[in-house]
């Protein structure tokens, strides 16, 4: 190229100038490390002995990156990174605000615990078919969804974790699993496709996909554009992903079929991504539309809460019971979204973190009860209190926590939500939260009474009980209980995180400002 013909171009208006400092990579590391780890594990897929240790190492590194990110977000506010040096709104933005960083940290933490649990739960065949690569790709997708600042990119991360979850769900190829996977796959595919349709409409109206840019332009387009339609379609798509009534039937059809560690990951993480997407779209992007839809969301929340827990009452398989308890918890989180005040959003965020920890732990304890008692059925379990007192203590603590009683994490999010509901004069939401808590106590109390206090059932043949591994079994559940106990006994740090996250949601200007202020983009 001849130098004299070229026009001097000032690229500072469109490009990031200068290199990214090392610590800024923490924004992308929770996603990049698991993807690289998954690729690495595929290369050594025949050496199944290495998988557990490698996956644990990668997840521990990702967890460290999440903690660095969380610490940076607490200190300096929202962290932004732009792909390919293009300034927003042109490049794909990764944007870690308090909400995304806290959720990503909790998700990576439970995945690390699940990777250890899987050492015992997944045999060499399961590893050869790729349990650990799927696990790493799933957490990459989940973290990507929590951290991205671009709505089409959010869709891509949804697909990443959904496709990985298919692999995990059918691992083992039992008839039950294939049956459950058909329903899970078809309904989840429809949900993500509705998400994509809506994103297409949104692009047609806004001409941008950057979430901060959308939030900025929404005010001007509210009079002319069909924003209400877009918001309602997002409610449909994300409500389906979050397993909100009446779109929750894929969850009880499939979550009890795979290996228990897979159920634990699904119950802890996947529905929460739907809740996260609802929080993000309805507070940052469409706050006015949320206020219009608040009554509809409240009805959905109450029905999800109550019908979820009533469904749990009717189950004999403890995994299916927990699946319905997961659904009921989704209703509680939606109640906070329906009220919409900063206090209510604080409750929802804290409840989601609590739910990620506790639902995973509940499934894992169900797996340990199966190892100790030889069955998942309430008809056959019994006498575990005498033989496994530590397991009984864990189950009791988890039961109280899921029902919203001290000493673990369940109490405070519900206190905050009830307080917000009373302050918002939403009496029937208050009532529904309290009634569903009582019913959850009944449901899990019955599981506890029947499988622990009831004498051992003579009719039950237990061909395949086995000794619970002290590290991979008890150790992982205890590791999950530590932060839950921390939230229960000293909730201030977690409340502060949730408050900051909720304040960021309630004030979209800070989210927009974090993307556009520094660079002064167009």
């Amino acid at each position: 190229m001849a130098a004299e013909t070229s026009v001097p171009v000032d690229t500072s208006a469109a490009f990031v100038q200068g290199a990214t400092s090392l610590i800024d990579w923490a924004v992308i590391a929770p996603v990049a490390l698991p993807i690289l780890g998954g690729a690495l594990l595929l290369m050594v897929r025949h050496r199944t002995r290495l998988h557990g240790a490698l996956a644990f190492g990668v997840l521990a590194a990702a967890l460290a990156a999440c903690l660095v990110l969380l610490w940076r977000v607490m200190g300096e506010g929202t962290q932004v990174m732009t792909m390919g040096r293009w300034l927003p709104p042109y490049g794909i933005t990764f944007q870690a605000d308090m909400l995304g960083a806290a959720f990503a940290t909790a998700a990576t933490f439970v995945t690390t615990a699940a990777a250890v649990f899987a050492l015992r739960d997944i045999d060499a065949t399961g590893r050869r078919y790729g349990f650990y690569p799927f696990l790493l790709l799933m957490i990459a997708g989940v973290n990507g969804a929590f951290l991205t600042g671009d709505i089409f990119n959010l869709y891509v991360w949804f697909e990443v974790f959904v496709i990985s979850s298919f692999g995990l769900l059918i691992l083992g190829s039992e008839r039950r699993q294939i049956d459950g996977a058909v329903k899970y796959a078809v309904l989840n595919l429809i949900a993500t496709t509705v998400f994509l349709i809506t994103t297409g409409y949104l692009y047609g109206v806004f001409g941008t996909l950057n979430m901060a840019d959308i939030a900025r332009k929404a005010e001007g387009l509210r009079a002319s554009g069909p924003l209400m339609t877009i918001a309602t379609l997002y409610l449909l798509a994300f409500g389906m992903k979050a397993a909100a009534f009446p779109l929750n039937f894929w969850l009880p059809a499939s979550y009890h079929t795979p290996r228990i560690v897979t159920s634990a990951m699904f119950g802890g993480l996947l529905t929460k991504v739907g809740v996260y997407a609802l929080l993000r779209t309805f507070t940052t992007l469409f706050p006015v539309e949320r206020a219009v839809l608040a009554d509809a969301i409240a009805v959905v929340a109450v029905l999800t809460m109550l019908l979820g827990v009533l469904g749990a009452l009717a189950q004999t398989d403890i995994r299916r019971t927990i699946g319905f308890v997961v659904i009921s918890g989704i209703g509680t989180m939606l109640a906070g979204l329906a009220i919409g005040s900063p206090l209510a959003l604080t409750g929802t965020v804290l409840y989601a973190i609590h739910s990620i920890l506790i639902m995973t732990a509940l499934y894992l304890v169900a797996g340990l009860m199966r190892e100790a008692g030889g069955s998942f059925s309430l008809h056959e379990l019994g006498g575990l209190y005498r033989s496994h007192p530590l397991l009984a203590a864990m189950m009791l603590a988890l039961m109280l926590s899921a029902a919203g009683l001290p000493p673990l994490s369940g109490l405070w999010p519900k206190v905050v939500l009830v307080k917000a509901a009373i302050a918002g004069e939403a009496w029937w939401l208050t009532g529904a939260i309290l009634v569903s808590s009582v019913l959850t106590t009944v449901v899990l109390g019955r599981v506890f009474a029947l499988s622990f206090w009831r004498p051992e059932q003579v009719s039950a043949s237990r061909p395949d009980t086995r000794r619970i591994d002290p590290v991979a079994g008890y150790g992982t559940v205890l590791a999950l209980l530590v932060p839950a106990l921390w939230i229960g006994l000293w909730p201030e740090p977690f409340l502060r995180i949730a408050e900051t996250a909720a304040a960021g949601l309630a004030d979209p200007a800070s989210y927009i400002g974090s993307v556009f202020s520094a660079q002064g983009g167009s």
């Binding site: 013909t5 070229s6 026009v7 171009v9 089409f152 891509v156 697909e159 496709i163 298919f166 059918i170 190829s173 008839r175 039950r176 699993q177 294939i178 049956d179 459950g180 996977a181 058909v182 329903k183 796959a185 078809v186 595919l189 429809i190 496709t193 994509l196 349709i197 994103t199 297409g200 409409y201 692009y203 047609g204 009880p252 059809a253 499939s254 009890h256 079929t257 009717a314 189950q315 004999t316 309430l378 008809h379 019994g382 019955r446 009474a449 029947l450 009831r454 004498p455």
Partner: protein, 125 residues
């Protein structure tokens, strides 16, 4: 042009939703395939249909001279095609395996994971 495309998109959605309401997995799968294509056309139409001028900045210029095609919807559609294709391939295999293992393609009869008449849990002890 947009009006005609909108009509086609609507038709695609109607056919897809009709097929997905069927009890038979194979029809649901056909519906999903059409659904995916309907979405791609939606995004294409939403990006505005413009002349087939490549969006390339001429040498020595810093901005585009004229109205060109919008490249972003095409990038989005390519991503969506890749994803829906891999999804569809997985679903085809899954449906075939389900037919082999469960002996039916009628979703009403797929009750292995949720058996009918399970009975109540123990009411006391």
């Amino acid at each position: 042009m947009e009006t005609a495309l909108t009509g086609i998109v609507g038709l695609f959605y109607a056919v897809a939703i009709y097929l997905m309401l069927s009890k038979h997995i194979i029809r649901v799968l056909l519906g999903i395939a059409i659904f995916g294509n309907a979405v791609n056309l939606t995004i294409f139409t939403a990006g505005r249909v413009l002349r087939e001028v490549p969006p390339i900045i001429a040498e020595g210029k810093t901005v585009l001279d004229a109205v060109t095609a919008n490249p972003l919807p095409q990038a989005l559609i390519l991503t969506a095609i890749v994803i829906s294709f891999s999804f569809f391939a997985f679903l085809l295999v899954l449906a075939y395996r389900a037919y082999q293992e469960l002996g039916t393609d009628d979703t009403d009869e797929m009750r292995i994971a949720e058996p009918k008449g399970e009975g109540l849990p123990p009411l006391g002890y």
